[in-house]
Symmetry: C2
Subunit: 476 residues, 2 copies
Amino acid sequence: MAKENQFVEQIADIETDFPQWYTDVVLKTKLVDYGPVKGTMVIRPYGYAIWENIQRELDGRFKKQGVQNAYFPLLIPMSFFTKEAEHVEGFAPEVAVVTHAGGEKLAEPLAIRPTSETIIGTMMAKWIQSYRDLPMKVNQWCNVMRWEKTTRPFLRTSEFLWQEGHTAHATAEEAEAETLTMLGVYKEFVENCLAIPVITGKKTEKERFAGAVATYTMEAMMHDGKSLQSGTSHYMGQNFAKAFDIQYLGNEGSLQHAYTTSWGVSTRLIGAVIMTHGDERGLVLPPVVAPTQCVIVPIAARKGGVIEACEALKAQLEEAGIRVTLDASDNSPGWKFNEWEMKGVPLRIELGPRDIEAGKMLLARRDTLEKSEAALENAAASVKEMLVEIQKNMLEKARAHRDNRIVYADDMAGILAAVEKGNFVKAGWCGCRACEDKVKEETAATSRVIVEGESKETCAVCGKPAKNVIIYARAY
Amino acid sequence: MAKENQFVEQIADIETDFPQWYTDVVLKTKLVDYGPVKGTMVIRPYGYAIWENIQRELDGRFKKQGVQNAYFPLLIPMSFFTKEAEHVEGFAPEVAVVTHAGGEKLAEPLAIRPTSETIIGTMMAKWIQSYRDLPMKVNQWCNVMRWEKTTRPFLRTSEFLWQEGHTAHATAEEAEAETLTMLGVYKEFVENCLAIPVITGKKTEKERFAGAVATYTMEAMMHDGKSLQSGTSHYMGQNFAKAFDIQYLGNEGSLQHAYTTSWGVSTRLIGAVIMTHGDERGLVLPPVVAPTQCVIVPIAARKGGVIEACEALKAQLEEAGIRVTLDASDNSPGWKFNEWEMKGVPLRIELGPRDIEAGKMLLARRDTLEKSEAALENAAASVKEMLVEIQKNMLEKARAHRDNRIVYADDMAGILAAVEKGNFVKAGWCGCRACEDKVKEETAATSRVIVEGESKETCAVCGKPAKNVIIYARAY
């Protein structure tokens, strides 16, 4: 039995050492590895397959919104960043710079994109002539680079993969509506495909994207109660249109600056999946994005007919569009159970001689660890139904976990006590930066999002009348 | 009518100024635009959609071969390149170098990947322990950078998109077989999806990938008779395994170096499509990868019921999985015909009041410019059939064009005369580098590929006994 327990022993305890649990899980399940350059990651096939599933789901949603994919250059002249004052301040410190190429020193140093507003703005200025060219909605799936001091796979690395959508509109109203539409697209995707409940809303000025008029965020609570910013949607007003000269001839004949937006999610979402659903045995992956949705483990595999029955079952499930793996390796069933549990496969099917004789199979759910039986006849329908049920349960479970950890506080001591316990804290806020700073200083919690539709009388920090309710939390 | 002809007037004549025709077509059909940094391109939505179709087709084929996608870091320590002597010689001159990041000078300069053998080799060395880990087959879809002096959109730009597959095997035989299998996958894809016939075979030592034991290529003939190297597959032997220490414990217990391969195709394939099929009116896109396979142009659109009938037809075609656009803009039908012809949409459907009354539609093929009628009933079936026919015809037409331009030569004068006329020239070759160099010097043609299964008595350059037959051609 020692061999059987080896997998759990490899992983640090999720409750007492969550950071080490995370590192153990991402490495041992082969989601990711460290790259040779500090702060970089290699996304291994098991991790990349999750990203492919995320891409497929999101890309379809973007296209339904009339967004078209394109590709813009990696390298951006450093001078572009200086055109929008806040933008350069926000990104210049993190930029990686190419100074030499083709054996020569470059006349102007080039930045590796940390985000592409500046280059896409430059191109939009060229492409947009009249109101007929609007709205223009483009998206790119690409790599970006932000040189970070402290890094962790998926959560914060110098290079990561993401999509960045950029749109230009004739009016402020239309651009603001687009910003919120895309935030809604993200929320629906994250909740329904990743089974992660998110709180959406506006960021404070302090936490806003460099150069934006308004930044909307989705914040998700991780297993340890910390928040993970899982995606953002920015309304730029005319800031970038003015900096990059994106003008259009209105139908009344006058030149106007466009209104722009941008919105993005990244491979960070994989980190969110790991830290929302994982447990003491390792990963728990939501069926919609799991590379393998269902693993078949033969029992007494050497007995006549077992492997054949497993293969027939596999073919039947694949035919129905289920992503299935048959583990016909030499390892013992117990070893396989533990390995596939660590890898977070949503559903395990055990199939042995007695099951085959009885015309049934055993289903073991990863989310609840419950086992049940189902007929081999119509196996695909049963499996599909079970996967839907698992997906639904994972969202509910995560929502319950989060909702239990949202508390209110009326003063700094209350905020501190609550975040120490791993809570999201709702508190009144006067609207001034100093109070936000003070919370960060004294509790290491930051303002995550302005809560819609709630009010408080006083600011929990200074006691002055509150303008908004804020969620404070420690964050990744 | 002047307005109607404007599109053709915008494009240089394909026969007399092919380079300008190419530039006109790629810009005016909005496939691509120039980026702000010299030598870079922006792939616009119409061009990127072709790339997405190429990706989807190829990716499915790779996965059937057991290849898994992954993602490796963009930045590679410069020292990695020096580990394989030929490799550094081949790529160092083209590398873009990051020297500063995060506001500081880096201890070691980092190269932006021109190709990823070195970093993938480094990771494989870590991941491969025993023969059980082999074969290992990974692929990544990514951007790469090679600083080029002379650039042209899709054909040669400092940054481009590609896929690079990398595999490691236990034996030389298996790795060599993999190299040829992937070359075969490429050939089948390029011929069946891009309708481009290719000649596959080995490169000479001079033209081989830096660090490879053998490079296999597919060469396609463009409209002007020049060759475009459209994809390559390399057998590395143990060169990279030794340089990066990719070793495995064999089942007999001894440590062995693995045998590796790599293979890639890029956005260059879009250039191949443009230059193989284009004509005096602009693009001609093969249905399998055309962003819009079929455009519906309403005739007398303001007459009652026309737009509704067009929309119903569009819905019916979409339902059948056809990528269809309905051009309901204010432009005249003639304008629309010319615009969509320039954009290379394989099939145009014209639908007016009389057609609707008669229960039929007019089909205009882009490849032959022929028109025919078909019943509105079962429109999807007729359109699908026609798209298959167009795809097939385009390949046949391209093959006939190429086969007519493959000639033999027995001496340098013959080679020169033939390449001047835009031919592929088959000639005997003694096997020595000096003769290849001489052909290049005197004719500007390079050796494209060693012809399988043909022999000649003497080398066309030096007259010594020939070892192989070579195809010489001018090339992109």
